[in-house]
Amino acid sequence: MGTDSHVVGRRVPRLESWDKVTGRARYTADLRPADALFATCLRSPYAHARVAYIDSSAAEQLPGVYAVVTHANAPEKRFNRANKWPGDLDFLPQDETLLTSVARHVGDRIAVVAAVDEDAAREALSLIRVEFEVLPAVFHVSDATQPEAPTVHEGTGNVAARVSIETGDFAKALASADLIFEQRYTTHAANQCPIEPHVCFTVPDDHGRITIFSSTQLPFTVQRAVANVLGIALDRVRLVKPEIGGGFGSKDELGLEALCTLLALRTGRAVYMEYTREEEFYHSHRHPATIFLTTGVRRDGTIVARGAKVLENTGAYASMGPKVLKAGFYHWAGLYPCADMRFEGLCVYTNLPPSGAFRGYGNPQVTFAMESQMDEIAAAIGIDPVELRLKNAVRRGDRHPLGFTVESCGLENCLKQGAEWIGFAEKRENAIHVSGAQPSAPEVSSAVLRLEEDGTFTLLSGTAEIGTGTTTVLAQIAAEVLGIDVEGVHVVPVDTDQVPYDPGAYGSRTTFIAGGAAKLAAEDARHRLLDFVARELDVPPQAVVCGRGRVYVASEPDRGLTFPEIARAFARSDGTHLVGEATYSPKQNAPPFAAAFAEVTVDVGTGIIRVDRLVLAQDAGVVINPLMLEGQMEGGAYQGLGYAISEELVFDPDTGRILNPDLMDYRLPTPADMPELHTIIVETSDPSGPFGAKGAGEIPLVPIAPAVANAVFNATGVRIRDLPLTPERVLRALRERSAAEQ
């Protein structure tokens, strides 16, 4: 970026910091109207069951109950909770209804009650009489893909989606390899665990409109989803996003909003719904996966053939499963590009609760496999693991499987600097991993910048701040272009009535795409400022420049107007605000890159892994705000650590229930468990991102698990190919190895 930037590249504290450290920040539950009804769902205790009989009359008659809805009187529209507009209605299976008469997972929604308070609502639930006809259920992909397996969705097989991609001639290339490596890896279900559970409330007005307040990552997308599911006109729905207490993908889909809106429409009252922590655990989780990798290499370590087969357990409803599967392909294919590759993937229904988006979105799974195997290959050939990666990794100028050219790639420096920092060459008790997460498929974002009378700018963007620092970064970008301090840009809270369209916060896209829109809008505003002042001063437009809150003649700096003066003059002459706006739809998506190095100690008596040190080197292009980027890196590493060694949703093999839907037995790392963490920012610059920036939010999570698994191998000689690396699993592996040696 250079030293001439005045706000981009600075460690600006997040704009809403003071609200958050004083308790003034308002999250959805804080805004709950005092007169809102309380609503809650009746959920199936069975993984697969038909509702043979349901009688809600006693519940309806309970004083204080305003509505009871079952499948019999609920909208029947089939949808996919992860629909994004416009393409997903054709691409994703539309396999879900608001309420169901066939429960397909434990927790599936059978009925919903709205009552005057929580007590009445829960009592009403207990009065709904339901008889279930229990059906056979499947929980494993291997069972669900058997010919006689019970089907999760009547009339369709259990394969929700299939991906089959081949480039070149994989079989031939494999045959030409000196060595072939074939391994099987498995990954597990992990829960996003935002500290703020899903929550929303809906408020009807007197004109047939509903305002939804929701803890969601996708204000506009959910607005459309609600309209779609309920079959009402889009302009009847307004969504306002308060502060959000974390999402990480759990809120990257339709949650409670449609149900809550339905109840508001039916009762004419405001309605409030929230998840208990247990319901939060049931909502969604990372797709468990089995990954088979077949890799052919030459003796010198050059990869000549790459094959992968990925089996993904998408649970009872497909949600974004097919997209996660595809994303897995892109991440796997893009990191070590090879002319001859074959990828096969199956997205499979089972009667587990639905899988969903979780930071990384298919990448952590395939990368755990891929990067573990790289170390296995390195060990077998006798080549340094860093060297093996440098030999085969994607480089700047390479063509990405998605069809674009990789225009920035700091991977080599990530590897080299990370290795040097942790002392990889000397210690060899650690391991590495690399990953190229990418923002999601091309879409669109719009931004509007409005000059106010006091000379500040209001920035309207539809993207969602969920705690990642998006708002701050957008303000910095706009401020940089306009030549003002970041305090001169106010980003308004997202309200679909007020701000322009943006699909939401996911896929590491907000800095890249929403930031891109903000930059263009700021440039548009600056152009208009220059134009206007040039006219006012009667000079050619090229003669004026913008800086330090003024627009002035470059050769005569005293001749100019301050922003407040411009605002007033513009109002007098044009009768309105000066506004800059832009819509941004990038043609390609610049992948970020990262490498992680882990140093571990394994207690061979108990199997416990202590990660002592973790080094994470990341290339996010040009860094708009290092403080925010470090936050994403450290937080991603934390979630990656949990994914690697302690977090695991455990399902009962007979009933499909979650056995640990609580924060005691779902083990998030505590502060005492954190390793010494060192982050290295490797700057590159990508022409497609605002000021050269790239996405950053997901990738820091991705390399941690394979780094830890590789380090465990280096420390103990034991290779474990199944996540998470719990103490029991490690001890068993150590035992098996000792037994085998005897």
């Binding site: 500290i195 974390g246 922590r277």
Partner: protein, 167 residues
């Protein structure tokens, strides 16, 4: 309101909240958490789990950090409660609050009030503290966003500032 429920007993509860004397009528079943939030409008304290694991509901009770989702409001009778709204002095933020902002020790902010309360207790209790003390103090505060590193840095920085006599 509902069939079968006997008329709710209400007890008078007087206690100190953020230095102010407060009197409310509560049912025995009301937890300190909702009395603070709903009866007193102190919305900074959050509910994240309801069973004392996540720490988002942490407040000080007689200067000790407690999980307010597991405290019956009546148990606070005659005692002193401090919430996030009570940190800082005379409208000035505390050293910890300032350090949190400067060091970026927060992201979504949902856990932040509970974490600040736990750390304020530590600052008040100990002249000096180490990282191990921080781990002990924060064991019951889950942060899903930050990985704790900047939180620890901010706490140690606030300690350093205090030891130099500033604030």
């Amino acid at each position: 309101m509902t069939i079968g429920r006997s008329a709710a007993v209400r007890l008078s509860l007087e206690f100190l909240v953020n230095g102010e004397h407060v009197r409310v009528e509560v049912e025995p079943r009301e937890r300190l958490l909702e009395v603070l939030r709903r009866s007193l409008g102190l919305l900074g304290t959050k509910e994240g789990c309801g069973y004392g694991e996540c720490g988002a509901c942490t407040v000080l009770l007689d200067r000790l950090p407690v999980a307010s989702c597991l405290v019956l409001a009546v148990m606070a009778r005659g005692r002193e409660v401090t919430t996030i709204e009570g940190l800082g002095r005379d409208g000035h933020p505390s050293l910890l609050q300032q350090a949190f902002v400067e060091f970026g020790a927060l992201q979504c902010g949902f856990c932040t009030p509970g974490i600040l309360i736990s750390l304020e207790a530590l600052m008040a209790e100990q002249q000096e503290f180490s990282r191990a003390d921080l781990h002990r103090a924060l064991a019951g505060n889950i942060c899903r966003c930050t990985g704790y590193r900047k939180i620890e840095e901010a706490a140690l920085a606030a300690l350093e500032t205090r030891s130099h006599g500033y604030g």
